[in-house]
Symmetry: C3
Subunit: 246 residues, 3 copies
């Protein structure tokens, strides 16, 4: 049995964040919060999130549960809740997921969680850690659309750069050290990523937080981390690189 | 001959309200106001409205007239008027319908009203009369979309309920007596309606008024009544039930 | 070599103004400003514009240059700039067009300007000159859509009129002398124009200025002139008439 009350906006952020990768969500309800880890069908992007118990106004927990459901069924009802509505979420063993707010109750039929594979977070050694203003990353993603399908992320000792190159055109964002929130980068690192995935991830990050932590290596996956609501919601995305042909 | 001046918003509400059911409108201009009653081609929904003479800033009436026209031709020109524009409406026998505001004049060719059948309001005995906050009805309609094509309206002694049931999911709104504006309901009544029609009707009601009066029976049509602008515009919708299969 | 700094909004207005007629822009950088003159592929509409040197915060000019480029590549990056961003534009001979703002740099490959024909402004004798509130022209264009594909512009001694006539319906705007900004019109002039072109031009004019100067003749092209930003940006459209069949 689980029963919790949480601001509708917190749940909307999480469902939006998952929905860019998968249609069906599998989540774990634990004593200290709700966890989820899913990879998209093409195995290019992964989400790993935690909603801390403290994100909830009320959190009644009895035993660990793992449940799975069509994400749209949850995100659909959350869209109807106002930003300031508090949503009540209930689950009883073998029952349905119950979502309620202001006289409305939705019962969501569950999927068989045991049939959905567990996702493991790969261990990655990423040399550079750079914290960047989310808004600037969002802008360059928009500027790069139409120029190329992929975008290069590059870190140096005193800068962070994103650039896309087309046949005749190119666009780049170069943020000097003094405009970054922080940078740990001993030597140049560079990897290339698909714009569509990265753009979706940055869009979610922008909703959640003014800054995003980027762990970057050479031709290696990138790790994007950000927190919402004073740290009680933590979202990490991993994104596989595209290998540069030249 | 008829000549009237009225706030553009009042006319927009009426054309919107008719447009959810029919493409061609037939209206009657009488000494005390403008009347209209139309049923949709599938004979599922009916509108019965009155714009009181008092809704007009000016109302010059000579003789009763019945005119018919493509609704889009009127709603199109009203869209261009600002909310606070006053619209002048003129009709001379065998002429066109003339709509004017701020230097713009539109002349709308008429249809043959005598070829369009008259619509009679069926006499209905509906046991329950419940006055509900429009906003809450609007919310549950949105929540029910995607779950089912029909929605159940149910009244009890001390509550009003709307619910939609899908194969695995369900959603319901249950408003207790103390949150209703009023309720007269001796015993449980229940009828089921198509969501698309009901949703369109509720949307119009929401534009017009914060409350809506529902007259409900058992497996029987529902009557939805609301007023705008302090009662000078009265709109009634009737909606045929769907018969529950179980 | 050319290097200039200008408010993003000024450049957006010009690219929007050109984009309604052509996909590829050819512009001339001169000592006193940037010029452009293009005609649409169907030879129905022409734009002739000037951005005065004074529209720029900085204007470094060395030699006259003529460059051509896909308009979308410039308008796309301008969309990402905020209204108050200042955009830096650079061009070095045989190089690319470089557009920069807030850490972002876009390099746009150029087209061969010498392969694009020069456009000459025809000499027109237009009897009437009428200055009209742009908002009213915009409204009547919207009202005329759906009634006809063309619209008549007519000037008289003491009025300006626009009207569209369908089979059963018509719509007109008639502005009396006292509501016009100015009128010089000795005798009645009248020409008819395609609504789609005229509507696009009026929309741009409305963004730029509350008034528009119309030079009108009989079954003759119309000249529409307006200025933005206190006169440092000048846009003139020419539009070919449709010949009335009756």
């Amino acid at each position: 049995m689980f029963q919790g009350k949480i601001k509708a906006d917190f749940m909307k952020l999480i469902t939006d964040a998952i929905e860019i990768l998968v249609d069906e969500a599998k989540i774990k309800i634990k004593e200290d919060g709700i966890y989820g880890r899913m990879v998209d069908p093409a195995h290019v992007g992964m989400i790993d999130f935690k909603i801390e118990k403290d994100a909830f106004d009320e959190y009644k927990f009895e035993s660990e549960e793992e449940i799975a459901f069509d994400l749209e069924k949850l995100s659909g009802i959350l869209k109807i809740a106002g930003s300031n509505d508090t949503v009540e979420i209930k689950y009883e063993k073998e029952g349905r997921l119950i979502v309620g707010f202001s006289n409305i109750t939705k019962r969501i039929g569950l999927l068989d969680a045991s049939e959905m594979p567990d996702t493991k977070v790969p261990s990655l050694e990423l040399q550079a850690e750079i914290v960047v203003p989310t808004e600037q990353m969002h802008r360059i993603i928009k500027a790069a659309e139409g120029i190329s399908d992929h975008i290069i992320l590059e870190g140096g000792k005193d800068y962070f750069e994103m650039r896309a190159e087309g046949d005749n055109d190119s666009v780049e964002l170069k943020i000097p050290k003094e405009e970054l929130i922080s940078i740990k980068c001993e030597e140049k690192v560079k990897s290339m990523f698909p714009i569509d995935y990265l753009g979706d991830m940055i869009k979610i990050a922008k909703e959640a937080s003014p800054e995003i932590k980027i762990n970057l290596g050479n031709n290696y996956p990138v790790k994007l981390s950000f927190e919402a609501s004073g740290g009680v919601i933590k979202i990490v995305y991993l994104l596989a690189p595209r290998i540069e042909s030249d």
